[in-house]
């Protein structure tokens, strides 16, 4: 296969190797070093897709990330939407098709790896064009720690696209030597295919390295596909170049219309002729290079159309080559269906367009000047200024730690860019106190030809009769001059509003070609200076970044740490169904064959209430509080008195915030005069340790107390039920487990085969219960001993669901489920846990507010559905009928809501806990809960539904 538009030689492609790709079902040849766009052009294909709203044919309009036209979907080797043909490097087996503005996500999981690396440098240089390479070399020679990142496949920047010479040789030789010199410096990191896509505070830059995308199916599995570099730089040099700007005219969107500089890139870098017959439309001198280079490569250049009345001093060069130059002329429109066939050219003077005539062409090159790529500067909150001469926005102030150089700073001659790159990095090194190297030569560049002043021309007046409705500003959004006029006509003055009204700049390319045009056209329509409209805000990312890359390794099981207890494998083997409690995986219930959750929970509850059950409670938060003032600290943080607790005893306590609302609860063991073990809820463990440390450091630094988390140092197994004493007594024969010797709310140390074990009589179920604490290394062994000893009694492992039912039957609240940050201990019916003796504790003063004594506060009560059948959905609202048996008129007052709701094996009916306004006064009343559109009558009861005297628990 041959590619009809491939030049016979030249370019930076590997002509010895041919690869095959499939585009829109057509097999096409290309070479390594091509992009998908250059391969399409080499085969004479300009149109890539149709446009998103209007369905107009669209093609390749630029040569890199600024292209608004060539959106493609990759189908193989891995499906990926919304890439630009101009930035997809070619590899064998690539299958792609054009996209009308919108792609679709892959239906198969992404099996590639993505990762991230942190990197710290003295100097980060972004862009490996002439200015960036000069800067990186100077920094490297000075011995600085340097990173140089560049988004292209190879270094060189604009030098890859032209015919420049340095040191009297092709510039590519200097580029190769510079790259080799950088590689020899051990403190230099040089990354190609790496886009710095965001600059943030304090010299922080994110860059995306595409490591294997260009290898296709040849990508090694063990290498991450893309890597996010998190670079912290003491100084940043932005040498990101400039984007060529189009001029807007009628029907400026046809395939075959492209930026003039892009045509040079396709010719010199990829060895591709983007057409046979070209018209070049320009407002500045840079496009003359494109006209002449294409002419020398064999393209018939029909005319150079220069909008400037005096044209250019380069006119003679063109005419010498036989190229017609029309000065004071513009392109007013185009003809052609799927490809441009004619440019309509008309005289242009003082803003007035004359009669047009058609010039045949299959390629229309456009240059309206150059926009410096100031994105990273602007993201770092640098202010931009409008330059009248260039018609572009430039960095408008000096920033500490970030300098812009080269054409990104508005310099467009090669010698000047090289010198400026060296100058700015030397200033940066001086600020970092790094002396420059003695030997630091720059290559000799030919003396710059002073270009004639460009003309700032945003748009050609529309003489086609379409009134700007085919004059495209943002090709990806199908947004036109007419749309901007409509926005301005609707009264919009702010460019940010115009952007949102027209959607210009909101597509895949983020307005790289359309942004400044919109500023200029809006200013023109409003009759104000462009400086006054400014630009819309530049926000990261500079080019699209896949979520997979941002996620890196933090996906799937690594997205959030999973915490498992020492018994996890046992739970898995026992068929547990798990639930997430914070980061913990906890068994929710253990279904037996044929059981659903409801059946399993009823069975597990019955076992704990009538025989014996056992649960893995290891996730409970545990904090070791030590020091001579430990008791003082706990007295200040708990609502009740902890200093009076005897060594060997356990006390339940509640903690409140300064606002008097409950933040956590749990039991406290006194291990010694100066040592306590504080148990918190599973979810509250970290928060309560933070809380203790905050008070100790910020308010009470005089207290001699240390706190440390011991959650993972103790596996914890509550053994629960009337037969729990038999089980624990059998496993620990040396411990007197009688009620007299080992009463409720005490703890005892024991040993099992020499392993220290702590036993405690605590009950979160209301049943006789023992908690067994042991080092997790011995957890499985101790758990199995307990199961063994419990077998005669049918010991039943149970999960969190049964735990919740058992505690709710006793009215024990779960902080965060039955409370919501507006609930005081008194609201929970726990006035008994609030000390009246202590002069102060955190929250005490708030209890004295009159609002806390309001009898109409929401209080925790029980609810029993009268039908003995309905399980009220948690979160349901509670309403009441008026005395006449009718609902009050809407809005019906809400009395509160259901906080916990279960089916009870013991009660043989469903029940619930609820926060109800004036709830304790309503005990015995009937209120209503709307469930699926019907009002379910429920009886209000006390919150303790089983064994209110606590006889079982204390037994």
């Amino acid at each position: 296969m041959t590619s009809p538009f491939r030049t016979p030689d030249g370019g930076r492609i590997d002509r010895a190797t041919t690869v095959e790709i499939t585009f829109d079902g057509q097999t096409l040849p290309g070479h390594p070093g091509d992009t998908l766009a250059s391969a399409l052009l080499a085969n004479g294909r300009h149109q890539v897709a149709t446009s998103i709203k209007l369905g107009r044919p669209r093609g390749i309009a630029a040569a890199w990330a600024e292209d608004p036209g060539s959106l493609v979907q990759i189908e193989a080797p891995f499906p990926e939407p919304m890439l630009l043909a101009t930035t997809v490097e070619l590899y064998d087996g690539l299958v792609a098709h054009g996209l009308p503005g919108q792609g679709r996500l892959a239906e198969v999981p992404d099996s590639a790896r993505y990762d991230a690396v942190h990197h710290h440098v003295d100097v980060l240089v972004v862009g490996a064009g002439p200015a960036g390479l000069a800067a990186a070399l100077t920094a490297a020679r000075a011995g600085a720690r340097v990173a140089l990142v560049d988004e292209q496949s190879e270094a060189g920047g604009s030098l890859l696209s032209g015919t420049d010479r340095l040191d009297d040789a092709p510039a590519s030789q200097w580029v190769a030597a510079a790259v080799a010199e950088l590689a020899a410096h051990p403190e230099v990191l040089h990354l190609q295919r790496t886009t710095a896509f965001g600059s943030y505070d304090d010299g922080f830059v994110l860059a995306l390295e595409r490591r294997t995308d260009h290898l296709g199916t040849g990508a090694p599995r063990h290498v991450s596909r893309q890597r996010v570099w998190r670079i912290r730089a003491r100084s940043i040099v932005v040498a990101t170049g400039a984007h060529e700007r189009p001029v807007v005219f009628a029907d400026n969107d046809r395939p075959g219309i492209m930026l003039a500089g892009a045509a040079r890139t396709f010719l010199h870098r990829y060895g591709v002729l983007p057409g046979r017959e070209a018209v070049v439309f320009t407002t500045n001198d840079s496009a003359y290079d494109a006209a002449l280079d294409l002419h020398h490569a064999g393209v018939q250049v029909q005319a150079v159309v220069d909008a400037r009345p005096e044209g250019s001093p380069r006119r003679d060069e063109c005419e010498h080559a036989g190229i017609r130059v029309l000065s004071g002329a513009v392109v007013t429109g185009t003809q052609g269906v799927e490809r441009v066939t004619h440019a309509l050219v008309a005289p242009f003077a003082d803003g007035e367009v004359g009669a047009s005539s058609a010039i045949g062409c299959d390629l229309l090159l456009v240059s309206g000047g150059w926009n410096p790529a100031v994105h990273l500067f602007s993201q770092a909150r640098g202010r931009l200024r409008y330059d009248e001469t260039l018609g572009a926005f430039l960095p408008g102030e000096e920033l500490d730690g970030l300098a812009v150089t080269g054409s990104a700073a508005g310099g467009f001659d090669l010698a000047g860019c090289l010198a400026d790159g060296q100058r700015v990095v030397r200033a940066a090194l001086t600020a970092l106190a790094i002396p420059p190297a003695g030997e630091d030569p720059l290559p000799a560049a030919p003396e710059a030809v002073i270009p004639a002043a460009p003309l700032v021309l945003w748009r050609v007046p529309d003489t086609s009769g379409a009134e700007g409705s085919t004059s495209f500003v943002d090709l990806q959004r199908d947004a036109t001059v007419a749309d901007i006029a409509r926005a301005v006509g609707a009264g919009l003055r702010s460019l940010e509003h115009v952007k949102r009204f027209t959607t210009i700049g909101t597509a895949h390319d983020q307005g790289k070609t359309s942004g400044v045009l919109t500023s200029g056209i809006t200013a023109e329509l409003l009759g104000i200076p462009v400086q006054d409209t400014g630009t819309t805000t530049f926000r990261p990312p500079y080019t699209p970044v896949a979520f997979a890359a941002l996620a890196g390794r933090d996906r799937g099981r690594l997205f959030d740490p999973e915490r498992v207890t020492a018994l996890h494998q046992w739970h898995v083997a026992a068929g547990a169904v798990f639930e997430d409690v914070g980061q913990w995986k906890r068994p929710r219930y253990y279904p037996q064959p044929g059981e659903d959750m409801e059946a399993a929970v009823l069975r597990e509850c019955a076992a704990a209430r009538t025989g014996v059950g056992i649960i893995d409670g290891s996730t409970l938060g545990k904090i070791d509080v030590q020091g001579p003032d430990a008791a003082v600290l706990l007295d200040r943080l708990y609502t009740n008195l902890m200093s009076s607790l005897k060594v060997g005893s356990v006390r339940y306590g509640v903690m409140c915030g300064v606002d008097g609302m409950v933040i956590d609860d749990g039991t406290v063991f006194r291990l010694a005069e100066d040592r306590f073990l504080v148990l918190t809820t599973t979810g509250g463990a970290a928060k309560i340790l933070d809380w203790m440390e905050e008070w100790l450091q910020t308010e009470w630094p005089d207290l001699r107390v240390h706190c440390t988390s011991v959650t993972e140092q103790w596996a914890t197994f509550p053994v629960v039920g009337p037969r729990s004493r038999d089980v624990v007594g059998a496993v620990f024969p040396d411990v007197d487990v009688s009620a007299e010797a080992f009463p409720f709310m005490t703890w005892r140390d024991a040993t099992l085969d020499g392993v220290p074990v702590r036993l405690a009589r605590i009950s979160f179920s209301g049943e006789l219960a023992f908690e067994v604490y042991v080092n997790p290394w011995y957890a499985v062994a101790v758990w199995q001993r307990l199961l063994e000893a419990g077998r005669p009694y049918g010991i039943t492992p149970y999960g969190t669901e049964t735990m919740h039912v058992l505690r709710a039957e006793k009215g024990y609240p779960i902080i965060g489920q039955d409370t919501d940050g507006t609930v005081s201990p008194h609201d929970l019916g726990m006035a008994w846990a609030v000390s009246k003796k202590k002069p102060d504790f955190v929250g005490k003063r708030s209890f004295a507010r009159p609002a806390n004594a309001d009898p109409l506060r929401k209080q925790l009560v029980g609810l029993l559905p009268v039908d003995r059948e309905t399980v009220l959905p948690e979160g349901s609202q509670i309403v009441e009928f008026r005395a006449d048996g009718q609902l009050p008129p809407p809005p019906v007052p809400m009395l509160g809501h259901v906080t916990s709701s279960y089916r009870s094996a013991e009660l043989a009916r469903p029940f619930a806990l609820a926060l109800v306004r004036g709830g304790r006064e309503r005990i015995g009343d009937t209120v209503h809960v709307p469930v699926n559109g019907t009002l379910v009558p429920v009886e209000v009861t006390g919150s303790v539904l089983i064994d209110p005297e606590g006889a079982r628990r204390d037994g």
Binding site: S199, Y200, D201, D202, G203, F204, R232, R234, S235, I236, A380, R381, E397, L399, D400, G401, L402, V658, D659, D690, E693, E694, Q697, T698, E699, P701, P839, D840, K844, R845, S846, A848, R849, P850
Partner: protein, 103 residues
């Protein structure tokens, strides 16, 4: 992402820190003697200035120490970090802040 200079550890990434609200709001000596309004001011009322603000920060994923900082709420710049037992710096002690991206 900003760097925050922990007085104990030096400059560290912002994600290692947690915010603790306005600094120099001590727990009252005798809460019981305060009126409801005075107590409400301690519990709920905090300044919200545009410009310099004395704040509490905790190096929660580092040394876990609390410290105070003067931060400009318009630029986000930390102008001074200081220990809890240091006095609040006077405005005259603080250098005029400059626009900067460098650490």
């Amino acid at each position: 992402m900003q760097l925050i200079a922990c007085p104990w550890c030096g400059p560290r990434e912002e994600v290692e820190f947690s915010y603790g609200g306005q600094a120099h709001v001590p727990y009252p000596d005798s809460p019981a003697e305060l009126s409801d309004e005075q107590w409400a001011h301690y519990v709920f009322f905090r300044d919200n200035p545009k410009g310099r603000f004395a704040e509490r920060w905790n190096h929660s994923a580092g040394c876990r120490r609390w410290f105070n900082a003067i931060r400009d709420t318009t630029t986000y710049r930390f102008e001074r970090v200081y220990r809890l037992d240091d006095p609040k710096p006077l405005a005259t002690e603080l250098a005029s802040s400059r626009r900067s991206t460098a650490p």
